[in-house]
C-alpha cells in the first residue's frame, strides 16, 4: 500500500544520521589530536610530526593498563594521559629544546625523525603485531535517537571529548599557566619581562597537548578496537589537516576543524565513495590552502606601532 520511496526515505535518513554519529565520533578523535598540534604550533611555531605517535603510545598505554594492570577505562584513560604528558615533555626537552633557535626546517626534520624513532622504537620493543582492545569494557548502554542506535562507545568518545575540551578552555582562559601560555605564544620576550618562565610554559603546553593525544588514543582503541604501532600516522596527518582547516594555532579552530573533517569523511562514505575516505582530508587541505590559508577561524591581527 504505502509507496516504497517513503520507506526508502526513512532508511536513507536513518543511514544519514548514523553516518553523522560516526563522523562526530571520529571527528572528536581528530579534534583531540588536532588540539595538540595547534597548541604546540601556537607556542613554538613547530609542526610536531611526532604528535600522531604520542597518540599511538597513548593507545598502547591504555591497552596495557586495561589488560595487564586490570584497570577500568577511566583510570586507564588517566594513566595514559599522565604518561603521555610526561612523554611529550621528554620529547620537547630532548629533541626540540636544543633547536629552539635553529631554522624551522631543522626542527621540522627533527620532528619527522622523532616520529620514526617512536614508531620503530615501539616495534622494536613489542613487535609489529596489532592488539585488540577487549570487548564490553564500556559501562554505557547504547541509546536510540530518531530510530538510530548510538553505541556506548560513541557516547563515551563524545563525553570524553566534551569534558576535555571544556577543561582545556578553562585552563587556557582562567588559570595562570593558561594565561602564561597565551602570553608566550604571542610574544616570548614580553612574556619574559612579566617574569614568566618561557621554558616551563612551553613544556606545559607539550604536556597538555600530549595528554589530549593520549586520551584520543584510548578512546580510539575502545571505538575501533584494533591498535598497532603505525596507527598514529594517518590520524596524525588528518588531525594536522583539521588543525590547518580550523586555523593553525587557534584552539577553537582545532575543535571545529576536527569535527568537521570527521563528518565530511563520514558523509563521503555515506555517499558511496568510501574508497575516497582517506583522500578527502587532503582534498580539504588543498582547498583550504588555496582559498583560506589562515583557516576558518584565522584572521590577520595587525598590531599598532
Amino acid at each position: 500500500m504505502f509507496p516504497i520511496p517513503f520507506r526508502k526515505g526513512v532508511a536513507f535518513m536513518e543511514q544519514l544520521i548514523q553516518q553523522l554519529v560516526n563522523g562526530i565520533s571520529l571527528g572528536s578523535i581528530y579534534a583531540l589530536i588536532a588540539l595538540g598540534y595547534t597548541m604546540v604550533y601556537g607556542i613554538v611555531k613547530l609542526i610536531n610530526f611526532a604528535h600522531g605517535d604520542v597518540f599511538m603510545v597513548g593507545a598502547f598505554i591504555g591497552f596495557y593498563s586495561i589488560t595487564v594492570m586490570d584497570l577500568g577505562i577511566f583510570p586507564a584513560l588517566l594513566v595514559s594521559m599522565a604518561a603521555c604528558a610526561l612523554f611529550g615533555v621528554l620529547i620537547e626537552r630532548i629533541a626540540y629544546k636544543p633547536l629552539r633557535n635553529a631554522t624551522r626546517i631543522a626542527a621540522l626534520i627533527t620532528a619527522i625523525g622523532v616520529s620514526l624513532f617512536i614508531e620503530y622504537g615501539t616495534i622494536y620493543i613489542r613487535g609489529a603485531q596489532p592488539e585488540a582492545y577487549p570487548d564490553g569494557i564500556v559501562p554505557l548502554k547504547s541509546i536510540d535517537l530518531f530510530g538510530v542506535s548510538i553505541s556506548g562507545q560513541s557516547l563515551l568518545i563524545l563525553g570524553v571529548a566534551i569534558v576535555l575540551m571544556i577543561l582545556l578552555q578553562y585552563i587556557v582562559h582562567k588559570t595562570k599557566i593558561g594565561k602564561a601560555m597565551r602570553a608566550v605564544s604571542h610574544d616570548q620576550d614580553a612574556a619574559r619581562l612579566m617574569g614568566i618562565n618561557v621554558d616551563n610554559t612551553i613544556s606545559a603546553t607539550f604536556a597538555i597537548g600530549s595528554a589530549l593525544a593520549g586520551a584520543a588514543g584510548v578512546v580510539f582503541g575502545i571505538y575501533y578496537t584494533k591498535i598497532e604501532p603505525l596507527m598514529g600516522i594517518i590520524p596524525g596527518l588528518k588531525a594536522f589537516v583539521a588543525a590547518v582547516l580550523g586555523g593553525i594555532g587557534i584552539i577553537p579552530g582545532a575543535m571545529v576543524g576536527g569535527l568537521l573533517l570527521g563528518v565530511i569523511e563520514a558523509l563521503v562514505s555515506a555517499a558511496g565513495f568510501s574508497l575516497w575516505r582517506d583522500g578527502v582530508a587532503f582534498v580539504v587541505l588543498i582547498v583550504i590552502l588555496i582559498f583560506r590559508p589562515a583557516g576558518l577561524f584565522g584572521k590577520n591581527v595587525r598590531e599598532k606601532v
Binding site: 594565561k179 610574544d187 614580553a190 612579566m194 617574569g195 618562565n197 606601532v305
Partner: protein
C-alpha cells in the same frame, strides 16, 4: 640603587655596548638620550635580563644581577616597559595587567595595585574587557606602563614611551611618569624626545654608538651647546 659598571654587549659580531657605565640613585628620574641605533634599548634589555653582557657588572643595591634571568630581575623590583609597547594583543586589558603581577602571590596587594593603575589611567578601566590589540597606540602605551607597575617595581625602565604619540598625549604620558616617580618609583627613561625627557629628569646620560659620551644633571646637559646641536634641534 642601580650601578652599571663597564658592560660590553654583543649581537654576534656587533659590539652594541662598549664599556657602558652609569648609576641611578633611589628616587631619581634618569634619562638616557641618543640617536637611532645608539644602543639605548640594548642597555635596557641587558639590565632586565633579556640580554647577557659579555663582561662588566650590574649591581642592584649590593646584588650582582648581570646575566640573571628576567624572572629574577622582575622579582628583585625592576620592571621594563619595552620599546613598541609589546602588549599581549590577543588578551584583554585586564588580563595584560594580571600578567604584570605574574610573580606576585599577595592577592590583596594585587587588588590595590589594580585600583592604583586604574586611577593613573582611567581609560584602561573603561576598556577593561577590550582586547588590547584593538586599543589605540596611546592606550597601548598606558597599558604597557600599567602592566609594568603591576609588578610593584622599585625601578621602572621606560623605552621611548612617547614614540608615535600626538604631542598632547606625550605631555600626558610625561605627567604620569612624574606622578609615578613621586610615589617613590625610581625611573630610567630612554627617549629620543630629548627636550621632554630633560624637562622631567634629574640627571641624564648621552649615548652614541654604544658609548656614554656625556653625563650630568638635566639642567647642565640642556645648556650644553654640543648636546643642543645634536639632540635638541638647537643652533
Amino acid at each position: 640603587m642601580l650601578k652599571v659598571n663597564d658592560i660590553n654587549v654583543y649581537y654576534g659580531n656587533i659590539h652594541a655596548l662598549k664599556g657602558v657605565t652609569l648609576e641611578i640613585h633611589p628616587g631619581e628620574i634618569v634619562t638616557l638620550i641618543g640617536a637611532n641605533g645608539a644602543g639605548k634599548s640594548t642597555l635596557l634589555k641587558t639590565i632586565s635580563g633579556l640580554l647577557k653582557p659579555k663582561s662588566g657588572e650590574i649591581l642592584l643595591e649590593d646584588e650582582h644581577v648581570a646575566g640573571k634571568v628576567p624572572q629574577l630581575i622582575v622579582k628583585r623590583g625592576i620592571s621594563h616597559v619595552p620599546e613598541g609597547r609589546r602588549v599581549f594583543a590577543n588578551m584583554s586589558v585586564e588580563e595584560n595587567l594580571e600578567l604584570g603581577a605574574y610573580l606576585r602571590k599577595d592577592k590583596n596587594g594585587i587588588r590595590e595595585d589594580f585600583e592604583k593603575v586604574y586611577q593613573l589611567f582611567p581609560r584602561l578601566q573603561e576598556r577593561r574587557k577590550q582586547l588590547s590589540g584593538t586599543l589605540s597606540g596611546g592606550e597601548q602605551q598606558m597599558l604597557a606602563m600599567g602592566r609594568a607597575l603591576m609588578a610593584r617595581p622599585r625601578l621602572l625602565l621606560l623605552d621611548e614611551p612617547s614614540m608615535g604619540l600626538a604631542p598632547l598625549l606625550v605631555k600626558t604620558i610625561f605627567r604620569i611618569i612624574e606622578e609615578i616617580n613621586q610615589t617613590g618609583t625610581t625611573i630610567l627613561l630612554v627617549e629620543q624626545n630629548a627636550n621632554m625627557a630633560l624637562s622631567i629628569a634629574n640627571r641624564a646620560y648621552v649615548i652614541e654608538t654604544g658609548k656614554i659620551v656625556a653625563a650630568g644633571t638635566a639642567a647642565e646637559l640642556g645648556e650644553s651647546d654640543q648636546i643642543r646641536k645634536a639632540y635638541l634641534g638647537g643652533h
